[in-house]
């Protein structure tokens, strides 16, 4: 009895230990991803440091699926910069170029007008009803860096959720089945 009991005990404790290790390694992966993202947020000063281009309105400069790195500094916004902005009542932010800037004499407040390089007219039709200008608080960041194609990963995952679940499942399986 004593011999078998010891064996069972040792197997059980090993499994517990292994499961715990796997949970911890999974936690490490998730938290390190979070650390990188939050670290980027602090470094760039933008609440979303990386955006994926979703429309062709900036072609041929930026195509659908390209990614942009944003930076939000205190420098004033000037024409020619590519900014990412949010419109009230619109969920998805827009990436377009600034074509007009009016900066107030005393307060330093700015009125900004944008346009997509590939669009014929300016963005007033995209803005909220009756809105003529963007203000500083609409701007999420200005684009400073560019990488082509990488954003397709997220586009595919949001448009075909099945692929996302398959990928998460496969990764989870890999983590669970992997031995030291």
């Amino acid at each position: 009895m004593g011999f078998i009991g010891d064996q069972v005990e040792s197997i059980r404790s090993m499994q517990v230990r292994q499961v715990l290790t796997q949970i911890i390694s999974l936690g490490m992966i998730v938290t390190s991803a979070l650390i990188i993202w939050k670290g980027l947020m602090v470094a760039t000063g933008s609440e979303s440091p990386v955006v994926v281009v979703l429309s062709g309105s900036m072609e041929p400069g930026f195509k659908r699926g390209d990614i942009l790195f944003l930076h939000m500094s205190q420098d004033p916004i000037r024409t020619g910069e590519i900014v990412v902005f949010n419109i009230d009542g619109r969920e998805i932010p827009i990436v377009h170029r600034v074509i007009k800037v009016h900066e107030r004499q005393e307060s330093g407040e700015v009125d900004i007008l944008t346009k997509g390089d590939n669009n014929f007219g300016d963005d007033r039709l995209l803005y909220a009803q009756g809105q003529l200008w963007l203000q500083k608080h609409h701007i999420m960041g200005r684009a400073v860096g560019y990488l082509p194609y990488v954003g397709w990963v997220t586009i595919v995952m949001t448009e075909k959720p099945i692929i996302k679940y398959l990928l998460i499942g496969a990764l989870g399986l890999l983590v669970i089945t992997s031995k030291e």
Binding site: T79, E103, S178
Partner: protein, 168 residues
Amino acid sequence: MHSWGTRLLAAATTAAVLLVAACAAASALDAFHVPSVEAQAHVTKINRFHKQINGNDKVTLTFSLSANLESLFTWNTKQVFAFVTAEYETAKNSLNQVSLWDNIIPDKDQANVQVEVKSKYPLIDQGTSLRGKKVQLVLHWHIMPNAGAMIRGKMPLSEFTLPDTYTS
């Protein structure tokens, strides 16, 4: 120890690191590239100068532009976005920048720009301060790379003074 998964992961990680390093290197090289742009622009005609119904001054004008932007192109340049703004100061605004013309230059062969711009975009003020106003034409460029950092630059071109009265 070296399972399929770990090998794949190692290969992917190395590839990603190398790509990031290549992008950083390309951007670093671009940062050392000193372009020498030569450009001139002159306003040749004020076509129409009036006050809009909503109370803003509006000018349509013609200007000639000659700009050689070939030196902006490096091996990592995808395109150059060039544009001309009218810049001026008013009692209300410390800076007004209004884009008058823009152009996407896809390669070096097309970077020697000679154009007569007949009001691609009108000059519209925020208010009515354009009469007799001194306005500066500024050439801007925005270099968009194949991958890496984007670079902006500008060059003041010429000044012109708008008439003291509306034309219509």
